[in-house]
Symmetry: C2
Subunit: 220 residues, 2 copies
């Protein structure tokens, strides 16, 4: 079970690490972080860097593809090497998946034309503009394409996928292994539940983050 | 607000990345991943490597210390450089925190003598043996010491801490930013809820993982 997780500059760490922590525990899982080159990639907040153990040229097929999101996706939706790689890998997969704005990359690669999909709550219009059919659910499974909502939703997505791949008992054991019995101290994790003040605060922060991430790039 | 996250070989990625994704979004947060040396550290499943941007010698104080867990902690509870570093940093912090078996490191460093604390459900006897007072809660706040249960609990811990540091409104905005509105497909994330079959499966897997992580080390 070869699991390829795409990385690029300014991706969001938890988008990739949530699914990694779940899918990496599947029996016979072999996870590889894949970037345009075999090098270190810096995440959106700048203070964390991850190693891509393989390049796009090294990896030409996968059982599971995971595309994380992040401010860097806006540059990535016009990034020829990444989009070409997604187009190469997707026909070889059993499951093609994304977390957060990773679905914008899948859509830009032409994988989500008219397909129900989800993304971060702040990027639903962009997902529609790229030809997908936005659906407000935490995890959307359509055929072999599985998309997750923002950042932390990748954990729920990966557990859903783990059950499809290895059965519910294995998925439950993984959930227990990572003690995923969430108890958020607040109930402010979705756009439907958050207050206008909370929404205002985070919209401003995301805008600053996006600006910082795209400074010096030719991103749309 | 300087946030130091300890890394070492065979730590569990999500233990560190959950708090990183939350605390890194605090206003004026400056996060640094700190290892015994400024180099790449491999996580417990082997396929992911993170860069420590600073060494123990570089970082001599922090506002927040985060110690993640993982199979590597068993070697770390006798690792003189890490324990000495924790003993150096702890008196300088506003908050000293751990996720999962990271609390075994805090305990081995002498920080948790007689203090209420939590760890991964599978490691509670070890925590007691190291002099802490194990408490079965997801997040335990005692003075400036905050410990979290297994792996994914670091997200709940960090949101709790974010509210103490920057106020509830900021913490809620961060929760919305990472769309942390968890919807696990199963309710099997705690030792109290999981079935005996699930427990059996994961205990075997964790034992194999621990064995693999400690192969060739002198871990207890």
């Amino acid at each position: 079970m070869k699991i390829a997780i795409a990385v690029y500059d300014n991706f969001t760490a938890l988008d990739a690490i949530g699914p990694y922590e779940v899918l990496g525990r599947l029996p016979d899982a072999e996870v590889v972080f894949v970037g345009c080159e075999k090098r270190v990639f810096r995440t959106d907040m700048g203070s964390l860097a991850l190693v891509a153990g393989a390049s796009f040229a090294d990896v030409r097929s996968a059982d599971v593809l995971v595309v994380p999101g992040g401010p860097g996706t806006r540059a990535m939706t016009t990034d020829r090497p990444l989009l070409d790689w997604v187009r190469t890998i997707h026909p070889t997969t059993q499951w093609t998946t994304s977390v957060c704005t990773g679905s914008l990359v899948l859509a830009a690669a032409g994988v989500l034309k008219g397909v129900d999909a989800v993304t971060h709550w702040g990027a639903m219009p962009e997902l529609a503009a790229l030809g997908a059919n936005p659906v407000e659910e935490r995890v959307v499974v359509r055929g072999k394409i599985v998309t997750a909502a923002g950042v932390s939703a990748g954990i729920d997505m990966a557990l859903t996928l783990a059950a499809r791949i290895a059965g519910e008992e294995v998925a439950k054991a993984i959930q227990l292994g990572i003690e995923y019995d969430p108890q958020p101290p607040f109930d402010s994790g979705s756009a439907r539940k958050a207050s206008p003040a909370t929404m205002q605060l985070i919209v401003e922060q995301l805008a600053r983050q996006m600006e910082a991430a795209n400074a010096g790039t030719s991103a749309a």
